[in-house]
Amino acid sequence: MRFNPKIVRGEEPPVTVDGEIELPADLAALADQLGDDAAHLAACYPPVRATRLSRTPSAPRRKAMPRGKTIAIAAAAIGGAALAALITLSALFPSATMPLAARTSGVQSNPSSTHSLTSFSPGGEATVSLVDLSGPELEAWLDLIASEPSHDISVSF
């Protein structure tokens, strides 16, 4: 005789007149606890806002700086450092750097003019206020100092 799994029936649970399962007290308590636990979990971990499926859902992301703005800031920092270096070089070596400074910045190099970053004394000394320098500009200064060991460069506070 072929095995027919439908013949073998599991133990049928007792049911009430209403068709509800008649649970012993301990199982009824478990059933209540299951419901309470489910409600508690749902309260602890509510769903994220349902995504609109009519259009492509986009996950919330940290607001990123626009790429163009990032490039502009980087260019400004590099330009500032280069300008600072050029101004210093023009102060130290006016004849060598004047054409270059004029080409890049479009400004006539004037040793007597004051600049927010540098001031020139009649004795040919150049002073730089480090307060206004940004990181890249400071780096450019330090490289300059390292590359010109013959010149007397001092730092005062």
Partner: protein, 187 residues
């Protein structure tokens, strides 16, 4: 049959599907994935819904299938890991982070963590009945089984849950008391 308004269906049923997914999976991250995948399937296969049942019973059916598939996949990963580690019990530090089920503390403390050990049929019946509050007829529709089978699974599922809890109680009672001997020299 009227075309299903996906957005309206999502607004109406997402919370309940998410709750069921949370109870099934044990952590909110998998629950989010399961719930969202359920509604993605709804969006893709809305035309195949014939309207003979309630929409939410159809959604529960999709969710349970996804959960079953995920458990099967995790089971395969665990078996592969056992092969790799030579059938040694894997400590939490030894198993990789990916594909490792990470249940949250609240779920682990709840009865649903014990329900997770039950057979699929009983587990799903208990979830649909006591987490989602579905009627027996609706559960039968979701599980594609007779009404008597639903009641039997619920009854025997609760009984099995009782046995799991009793066994846990036994395990706790068998644990040795904190030794009175000074073991500081062993550290």
């Amino acid at each position: 049959m009227d075309r299903i308004d996906i957005d309206e269906a999502t607004r109406t049923h997402f919370a309940r599907i998410h709750r069921a997914a949370l109870v099934l999976s044990g952590n909110p991250w998998d629950a989010d994935d399961l719930a969202q995948e359920t509604f993605l399937i709804l969006a893709r296969q809305a035309c195949s819904f014939e309207g003979r049942s309630n929409l939410y019973t159809w959604l529960y059916g999709i969710l349970l299938n996804l959960d079953r598939r995920q458990r099967r996949r995790l089971g395969m990963v665990r078996r592969k890991l056992r092969v790799l580690w030579g059938n040694q019990p894997a400590s939490p530090a030894a198993t990789p982070g990916a594909n490792t089920v990470s249940e949250v503390k609240e779920w682990k403390k709840s009865l649903w963590a014990r329900v997770a050990r039950l057979p699929d049929g009983q587990r799903q019946a208990l979830v649909l009945r006591f987490s989602e509050g579905l009627r027996y007829e609706e559960i039968a529709e979701v599980l594609q089984c007779p009404l008597g089978t639903v009641k039997s699974r619920i009854f025997h599922g609760l009984a099995a849950l009782r046995r799991v809890l009793d066994q846990e109680g036994e395990d706790c009672r068998q644990m040795p008391d904190f030794p009175s001997e000074d073991l500081s020299h062993a550290v």
